[in-house]
Symmetry: C2
């Protein structure tokens, strides 16, 4: 879900901005303007994948486990938004074709299903490649100097 990606990006940038202060999930939730329950799952994923480290107790909280420069935006995208398994609800026709009509060569119902699946799958792979071109440092720079990211993309393309 795209919101999960935003939660991850926002959390990591927030931890970086406030480093080396430990940040509680309550403080993070306040900045994200989301319910703490909504971010707990993503923080757990970031923790398991070695993006952040956390400690509990009175002085507990989260810290970055590695610098932003070593975090790829595309890797975060893939982590928080897995590729679509099935495009079935976006695709017309049926992989079996028209049962009542399956000797009719003019019907493209079965084939279009495969063609559209390939089109969407390849487009999604291309979309992910876009995110993989950037590190979290690129987004951090834009936070402080809005317009940086647009300039960067224009230079690259």
């Amino acid at each position: 879900m795209k919101l999960d990606f935003s939660v991850a990006v926002h959390s990591l940038l927030y931890l970086d901005e406030n480093s080396p202060r430990k940040i509680t999930s309550a403080e993070l939730a306040k900045s994200l303007q989301l319910n703490p329950v909504m971010i707990r799952n993503i923080l757990s994923v970031l923790h398991k994948q070695g993006y952040i480290e956390g400690s509990v107790g009175k002085n507990g909280g989260y810290l970055l486990q590695r610098p932003l420069a070593e975090m790829n935006v595309g890797a975060l995208y893939d982590l928080t938004i897995p590729p679509t398994i099935s495009y079935a609800r976006f695709i017309t026709g049926d992989s079996k074709g028209l049962v009542a009509n399956d000797t009719d060569d003019s019907d493209i119902s079965a084939n279009i299903n495969e063609t559209l699946t390939d089109l969407f799958t390849l487009a999604d792979a291309d979309y992910r490649r876009f995110y993989h071109r950037f590190s979290m440092t690129d987004l951090k720079t834009d936070l402080h100097q809005h317009g940086h990211f647009i300039d960067l993309v224009n230079q690259l393309s």
Copy 2:
């Protein structure tokens, strides 16, 4: 909506396959395995934009108005799936920042909103450019020779 794009692509390929026979919306709906009501709106858009021509009456039906080679896949994508106006529901933080906290420089709530909006907007533009690289002829070839489209994309990238 992504299904609208599939409806458009499927309809145009179906008309091409059956050319010069006129195709009724009922026949098209059967191949699409959708209710005729669900495709009426898209057919109307394709008609208005000069992709198809239609006639009513006893021998009425739809025909392509121009060859597939003159139809760009990206143009169809833009026509059926307009760019997202607002990413608000995918974005954390608030464009106004934390009101109670707006003198706190460590809070990134307002800035992250702008940065994520730029990131998603640029990624979407890049996504659309992918579709613009192909004509409907590329999809037609894949219909008859599945795997063609994958090969084509691999060659281009």
